[in-house]
């Protein structure tokens, strides 16, 4: 049974790193790379062996509903693969990047805690346990955002902590109401009990959760913390936060709770579509005006989350496929873009697009991979972003949501516009840059190249034969809605 190890390995690594690390970070690097590599292997193994099945792990040898259970189905395995894949490249990027700060070993310990939290949120089948793991991930994230110890980083981390605490309080309130009305914390049991409880409870709790998890995933009215936090964090952490944290804590939790527990009430699907389209358009406009490269990327994350939410809101099989595919794609290209921004920041000492220039000759890997990532996020064929956006737009048209389809198209064009701006000023500008503070190490280059290759390779997932093995089981779990009850409880 591999499920508990998904949580044990990074947690053990975190504490061992604090135990054995001295001033140097060599052991911390070895331990964390080993831990994440084994996690990725476990996640890939579980993804390719799970299929349409659901595996349950009951802690302490007790039985559901007395125990905390871990649930492994196609959706959770899929998310685990994304988290640990991005974590591995992020670690490769971190090795030389993070040495510019003091006590780098602390970074690795916090990084492992961040992964523990996210893996825990994804693997757990218990709603209070989900809250606890979410807090673990968030506290590690607060500390990591402030890791550079500059005033603006502390400010961003503090803002993130305040808003994160508000949303966590809302979520805890929702969990409390659910527990009061169903007398259980196991998600499958809650889903089963809710069918007999007054439907008012579902709507109230769902509204609270929408605000709580909406803040975690930075949907438009709840997004204020994200541009600060994601642009102030060290680049590998920005990529973890933007690439996977908002998805594991936000989108994944929304899918699990709204689809698998509440059975996707129609009014909330409409809300998803409305909030998603607001996020797409408004965040794109805000991104257009940014001159700070990482801030631009952060606003872009909000807009891309909008696409995912729009897909979830449309709710047809095709739309869910698009949303699920976009979760994977966005994790890959947004992490890559943040690595590019980090590499440029390391080399030039600035994030301001106006102070950058022609980097084509001096930083060929960074410029080349950033071009690939840009084409992916802007949705140009044959890169992965094109297919997921196309699926979402086609699904919107098929479901007779023409307005939303048009919004998605406009959002896609705006995405292209602000990324052309980033490319034009940031990487292909007129000024010839001759002075560099630091060279880009092999680890950073290989992290960027791996993700750039994945930007193209993951488009293959759309080929029917491959899709049936990879994305379709995930869509089945989501479309199955409260079939989750049967899958987990076996009745």
């Amino acid at each position: 049974m591999i499920l508990p190890f998904i949580i044990i390995i990074p947690l053990l690594a975190a504490f061992l790193i604090t135990l054995i690390s001295g001033e140097k970070d060599n052991w911390a690097i070895v331990l964390s790379i080993l831990a994440v590599l084994s996690l990725l292997i476990l996640a890939l193994f579980s993804f390719f062996t799970t299929g349409d099945e659901t595996f349950i792990y009951e802690m302490s040898g007790w039985k559901i509903p007395l125990t905390i259970c871990l649930v492994q189905d196609a959706l959770s395995s899929f998310m685990l693969v994304i988290v640990n894949l991005i974590a591995l490249t992020s670690l490769m990027f971190s090795i030389s990047y993070i040495r510019q700060y003091s006590s780098p070993w602390m970074y690795y310990a916090l990084f492992m805690l961040l992964i523990t939290g996210m893996n825990g949120v994804i693997a757990t089948g218990d709603i209070f346990n989900l809250f606890v793991f979410m807090e673990i991930a968030l506290f590690a994230a607060y500390a990591l955002v402030a890791f550079g110890s500059k005033a603006e980083e502390y400010e961003a981390a503090f803002k993130y902590a305040v808003m994160g605490s508000i949303s966590s309080t809302l979520i805890l309130l929702g969990v409390g109401i659910l527990y009061a009305s169903t007398s259980t914390l196991t998600m499958a049991n809650i889903a089963a009990e809710l069918q007999t409880v007054n439907s008012q409870v579902t709507y109230w709790v769902a509204a609270i959760f929408l605000a709580g998890f909406g803040l975690k995933s930075a949907i438009m009215p709840f997004h204020a913390w994200l541009p600060d936090a994601h642009s102030s964090a060290p680049a590998p952490i920005s990529s973890m936060l933007s690439g996977v944290l908002i998805k594991a804590l936000g989108v994944y939790a929304i899918i699990r709770i709204f689809y698998n527990i509440f059975g996707a009430p129609a009014v909330f699907l409409t809300l998803f579509m409305v909030l998603g389209s607001i996020s797409i358009i408004v965040a794109s406009y805000l991104a257009l005006g940014q001159w700070d490269l990482k801030r631009l990327l952060a606003y872009s994350s909000i807009s891309q989350i909008g696409f995912i939410l729009l897909g979830l809101g449309i709710g047809t099989k095709l739309a869910i496929l698009g949303a699920v595919f976009h979760i994977l794609n966005h994790a890959i290209f947004k992490s890559l873009l943040f690595y590019n921004a980090g590499a440029v920041e390391l080399a030039l000492g600035t994030r301001d697009l106006r102070k950058m220039g022609n980097l084509k000759g001096a930083m060929p890997v960074t410029t080349g991979t950033s071009m690939i990532a840009t084409l992916s996020v802007a949705g140009l064929p044959p890169f992965n972003g094109f297919f997921s956006k196309l699926i979402i737009i086609i699904a919107a048209v098929q479901a007779n949501h023409i307005v939303y389809a048009i919004i998605a198209v406009i959002g896609s064009l705006l995405t292209l516009a602000y990324f052309i701006k980033a490319q034009r000023y940031g990487f292909h500008g007129e000024t010839e840059i001759t002075e560099f503070r630091q060279t880009i190490s092999l680890g950073m280059k290989s992290a960027m190249i791996i993700l750039a290759v994945l930007c193209i390779v993951t488009s293959l997932l759309i080929i029917p034969g491959i899709r049936e093995l990879t994305l379709d089981p995930v869509v089945t779990v989501i479309m199955n809605k409260t079939g989750y009850i049967q899958a987990v409880l076996g009745r």
Binding site: P4, L11, L12, F15, T18, Y57, E58, S60, G61, T67
Partner: protein, 150 residues
């Protein structure tokens, strides 16, 4: 120890006597965690408070002279690792992560409830050391920001 470190003689004398009582109470709470309200977390907080009491009364320099903070830090990390080890042991012996694999003994006797007292002790180390190191770090942080050592 200079007289101007920490608080007045009255506070120091009271602390010298009361800290042992507080520690004893903390240990009582930890050891009876499986029998009465309390447990590792509550007891750990009480123990941390006893240590903080000393720090407040005698000043941070006193703590720096007598206590190796690095060791407390290691103690904290290793207790967390130990907790995980207990969990994995439960997996190896008794069917699930953190399974209670030791005989549960007689109800309401001090040595009963299998692994739970052990886990309580581990948690208490983690909590007490963690809380103490956090507050100690906060007092050091004050110096970083340009405050003067008194």
């Amino acid at each position: 120890m200079k007289q101007r470190d920490g608080m007045t003689l009255i506070v120091k004398t009271v602390t010298r006597i009361s800290v042992w009582l507080i520690l004893l109470y903390g240990i009582y709470i930890i050891l009876h965690g499986h029998l009465s309200p309390g447990g590792g977390f509550a007891g750990g907080v009480i123990i941390a408070l006893a240590l903080l009491n000393v720090m407040l009364a005698y000043g941070r320099q006193f703590i720096d002279r007598w206590v190796n903070i690095g060791f407390l830090h290691d103690l904290e990390s290793s207790s967390a690792a130990l907790f995980l080890a207990m969990g994995i042991l439960g997996m190896a012996v008794g069917g699930g992560f953190l399974a209670n694999f030791i005989s549960q003994g007689k109800l309401f006797s001090l040595l009963s409830a299998g692994t739970i007292p052990l886990l309580n002790i581990i948690i208490s180390i983690k909590v007490s050391m963690g809380l103490f190191v956090v507050v100690w770090t906060l007092s050091v942080f004050h110096l970083d920001k340009g405050g003067k050592e008194e």
